[in-house]
């Protein structure tokens, strides 16, 4: 599951030295005929205008905004972690954060299910790693029919700002693997900002602290060193 997820993480590659400045809605990022409006921007006459609070980035001709705040926006293909919030005859409602309810239908469970023991498979409060099959108006469809997805037992989950997920995973998983190795903790990061941890108590706390550190200081230089230092203590 790790490999699949990493490829799908958007290419907000923070290692590239591109100038990013914080802009607000309505702010003119850049002026010029040649520029093209990317995510969360709009072209008005010759100006590229921001439509969201975030970091403006210009790559070539395309100007886009990288969000730093805001709720999780579900996209098809996202790997997320969810908590069962309700059960009905056709499947399970899940909390994955974000603006809409999410649903895992019986048909998207990878094994045959006897309708009489739906609760045994997934009861309210159970935690799963899932994939988003599709987002239609007002609801999100989930599936378990991919390798590596399924129920998460033991451990615990925490919630972080979903926009910091790329930073927490790091280039090709470097950051998250650093934390996993140094703390001997099993970690699974959902693109919705829900993170599952499982390890020995003190180590697990250390892993959580490291994740919170990255969440707080995601914009700083030398973050990897800071995290290494923290984990050595």
């Amino acid at each position: 599951m790790e490999e699949e997820r990493l490829e799908e993480i958007s290419d907000n590659n923070f290692d590239e030295k591109t100038d990013r400045k914080l802009v607000i809605p309505g702010e003119i990022i850049v002026s010029g005929e040649d520029y093209l409006p990317g995510d969360f921007t709009k072209k008005e006459l010759n100006n590229i205008v921001a439509n969201r609070y975030g970091l403006a980035e210009i790559r070539g001709r395309v100007v886009k905004i990288i969000p730093v705040s805001g709720v999780f926006e579900p996209r098809r293909g996202n790997n997320v972690i969810g908590i069962v919030s309700d059960i009905n005859f056709s499947g399970w409602r899940m909390d994955i954060g974000g603006p809409w309810g999410a649903f895992l239908p019986l048909s998207e469970y990878p094994k045959f299910i006897n309708r009489n023991n739906i609760e045994e498979i997934a009861n309210i409060g159970d935690v799963f790693s899932l994939k988003i099959l599709g987002v239609k108006r007002g609801s999100v469809d989930l599936t378990l029919k991919f390798r590596g997805l399924g129920k998460l037992e033991d451990g615990r989950i925490i919630k972080i700002n979903c926009h910091k997920v790329p930073r927490i995973i790091g280039k090709e998983g470097s950051m998250i693997n650093l934390i996993k190795n140094k703390t001997g903790t099993d970690i699974m990061v959902g693109q919705n900002g829900f993170i599952w941890l499982k390890g020995e108590f003190e180590n697990e706390r250390k892993a959580e602290e490291a994740i919170r550190l990255i969440e707080r200081e995601s914009a700083s230089e030398g973050l990897t060193n800071k995290v290494e230092e923290f984990l050595e203590k």
Partner: protein, 269 residues
Amino acid sequence: MELSNINRKRIITLLKEGNRLDGRKPFENREIFIETDISNKAEGSARVRLGKTEVIVGVKLQTQEPYPDHKDEGTLIVGMEINSSAGDRYEPGPPQIDAIEIARVVDRGIRESKYIDLKKLCIKDGEIVWSVMIDIYGINDDGNLLDASFIGALSALKVTKIPVYIEEEGIKYDKTSEKYLPLTKNESLMMTFYKVGDNLLLDPNREEEDISNARLTLAISKSGKDKIIHSMQKGEIESISIKDLNKIIEEAENVYDKLSLELNKLITR
């Protein structure tokens, strides 16, 4: 984020070993932050954070006729409202803890200890007295709004000044008499013990409070070497054992001393 089974199990298991997810000990409270005088229209006000739980409290003084059975005493009223989005709950519906219950519990904690010297709030015996109105607003609920509200009320009361009252003219709110609200030495502190699994703890965060189904609030003051209980309230639907009850009362004595020290450092008149 909905409370998950794995978190619930984890919290309960850890608590059996005397551990909590944020590293605290069972009877350790979160960091307290107090800022006073946040509203110049209030006679006294405070903003309090207990961890991420946050309340704003204001005290207004008005005049009224005294109650017939307390003709020479001022009056006290406590009200509370909670920001309906304050907890950002997944579940729709009213907040889990009732604002009315909090208001009444905080009220009794202050009233029964006789912390405010109501007799000194008499302007004219049998005719006109000061009425102390405490309004609490819960801005964010990350567990234990009860105790946060009490600390807020206490902090606001300590900085409350009485406005000028002129017979025939009424209250001149823009003038202060520079006199503080008359408070006695009977300062009571409120602490709520929550039962989580089979164990007890203080100052839960949101998840811990969600798991808990029984709590006991006490307001305690000190008199010489003794600790005096002024009010109690058991809340929520499950029972607490006699063993729990004894443990709570025993622990409350220690907690009073620690909390008293901490609060005195934070609020200065």
